[in-house]
């Protein structure tokens, strides 16, 4: 316990050191304030944006727009990748059908196919959500397939010997067995979609955190860029904490079997 609380202090210390370095370097004019704004200036920009919004929309709607896109894409990924992953893990035939497609698109840089998505789906939210969906789908699908492969064979046999048909074994044993892997997949997928967020808001967007950062860069508003990046980082940490909390409460047996 003592060691753990020590580690917490160490983490705080590193954050504190970085902030001090930032403050020092701006206060002592080590860097050009045009490129590295001072903490005070960033705070000021943050307060401004909170009060007046950025380019016509309040800050909350920028965050809301981004989160809405993320949430929709994520929802779509969860309802497709999990069943498909379970089916692929269960049946080699299904896997043979789906795997090559995923193995092909997964390593592609999202920006490369984003151009196509825009051509097909237009410049509205549909193409953005499709891009984020693709980013979330692959890691989630792969985690679920791996999860099915890891289920002890005897566990499925035990269920069958207790009277579960193949279909029921799928629903009542294979699915819950994969829950820990599903949560791991969700965390990875969350990271992937988040990194694609800025890319998704690059084309024809007028709102969103990613767009705000890109737009600010055009006007050399480094303070706004900082605000956007810090906000994205904080929200990412909060989202990850949320998923971890969900995993802890929903799959308390994880790692203790």
């Amino acid at each position: 316990m003592r060691i753990r609380s020590w580690n917490g202090w160490l983490s705080l210390l590193s954050v504190f050191l970085l902030l001090s370095l930032w403050w020092l370097s701006t206060a002592l004019n080590w860097v050009n304030p045009l490129f590295v704004p001072s903490p005070q200036k960033v705070w000021g920009a943050f307060v401004d944006i909170c009060r007046e919004g950025y380019k016509g929309s309040p800050l909350a709607s920028h965050i809301g727009e981004s989160l809405k896109r993320l949430a929709l894409a994520f929802f779509l990924a969860i309802v497709t990748a999990i069943p498909l992953g379970l089916a692929s893990g269960y049946s080699p035939k299904v896997r043979a059908l789906i795997d090559p497609l995923i193995e092909f698109y997964r390593p592609l840089p999202p920006l490369a196919y984003y151009t196509l998505l825009v051509l097909w789906l237009g410049i509205g939210d549909a193409s953005k959500i499709a891009l984020l969906f693709l980013a979330a789908f692959a890691p989630l699908y792969i985690a679920v397939v791996a999860g099915v492969a890891r289920i002890p064979r005897d566990r499925i046999l035990a269920a069958r010997s207790l009277g579960a048909s193949r279909g029921k074994a799928f629903l009542y044993v294979i699915f819950p067995s994969c829950l820990p892997d599903i949560f791991t997949g969700i965390r990875t997928a969350m990271g992937m979609t988040y990194t694609t967020l800025v890319a998704a808001e690059m084309v024809a967007a007028v709102s969103g955190m990613g767009w705000m950062v890109l737009d600010a860069s055009k006007f050399l508003r480094s303070d706004v860029i900082f605000v956007g990046i810090l906000l994205m980082g904080l929200i990412a940490v909060l989202l990850d904490l949320l998923v971890r909390w969900l995993a802890k409460t929903q799959v308390p047996w994880n790692g203790k079997e």
Binding site: P152, D154, R155, L157, A158, A159, R160, S161, L162, G163, A164, S165, K168, Y172, V173, P176, S177, L179, V251, P252, W253, K256, E257
Partner: protein, 272 residues
């Protein structure tokens, strides 16, 4: 099949010959793999299990005892010969044939009671009834206080008792047990043997029990089968002369003939 000393004191053994035949294995061979990787694990094995019997199959590791159990459970298909279980030859798991594994193999996301309910739930038994029957089974193995716990919160011995409760609750006609106490410490193992014996004496459910522990076989079985060799075959198949309905396992161990029988069995295991 070699004759052994076990049959000398036949008089004390129960008469189960008249019980209905639940499992019959006739000249079964089992070969895994193909071509160069081919491995014959069982050769020409014939066995049967009747109602009210507690058959212990003894054998060193690698002699195919687990394969034999998997054949009866319907997890494997014999390469040749016939495996008939409750009048059917189709190799398919089913609720009439319960299985207790070496490692408890409980469903980690379900509480002990819900684990015990699983079989009944799969068979479509109503909520109230299955809850009652599951609670009854959990109580029978002495886990009443732990019924709401998740498996990872239990000790190894408790997990194994929960696994037995899960199988009992589904009320199978045959229970197959694959070295269920093999991974437990000596004291827990003895407790569980004692408890299983009591449970069996009360219900007389047919049990097919696999073990490598000679004492376990002598203390629990109505009939002892020694499997040996590679590929495995039946070396001994005889009623257990030590079988008794009254005595506790501790009293059985104190019986005069215990030592001698034990020695004979060890000997036959060595030469099997």
């Amino acid at each position: 099949m070699r004759a052994i000393g076990l049959t000398e004191s036949y008089d004390a053994s129960p008469s189960t010959e008249d019980g209905e035949r639940l499992v019959s294995i006739e000249e079964v061979s089992l070969v895994y793999g193909r071509g160069k990787k081919e491995k014959e694990v069982l050769r020409n094995v014939s066995l049967e299990l009747r109602e009210r019997e507690f058959v212990c199959v003894l054998g060193a590791s690698g002699c195919g005892k687990t394969s034999l159990l998997r054949l009866i459970a319907g997890y494997e298909q014999p390469s040749s010969g016939r495996v008939r279980v409750l009048g059917r030859e189709k190799a398919e798991p089913r609720p009439e044939v319960g299985v207790v594994f070496q490692h408890a193999n409980l469903f980690p996301w379900l509480s002990i009671r819900r684990n015990a309910e699983f079989g009944l739930r799969m068979q479509g038994v109503g909520r109230a009834e299955r809850r009652e029957r599951a609670e009854e089974a959990v109580r029978r193995v002495g886990l009443g206080d732990a019924e709401d716990k998740l498996p990872f919160e239990l000790s190894g011995g408790m997990k194994q008792r929960a696994a037995i409760a899960r199988t009992l609750a589904a009320s199978p006609r045959i229970i197959l047990m694959d070295e269920p106490f093999g991974a437990l410490d000596a004291i827990t193992r003895e407790n569980l043997q004692q408890q299983l014996r009591r449970l069996w004496l009360a219900s007389r459910q047919a049990i097919f029990f696999i073990t490598h522990d000679v004492d376990e076989a002598l203390l629990l079985a109505t009939r002892v089968v020694v499997l040996g060799g590679s590929p495995g075959s039946v070396a001994v198949d005889a009623p257990n002369p030590l079988y008794s309905e009254e005595e506790s396992t501790a009293e059985l161990r104190k019986r005069q003939e215990y030592g001698k029988l034990r020695e004979q069995l060890v000997e036959s295991l060595k030469h099997a």
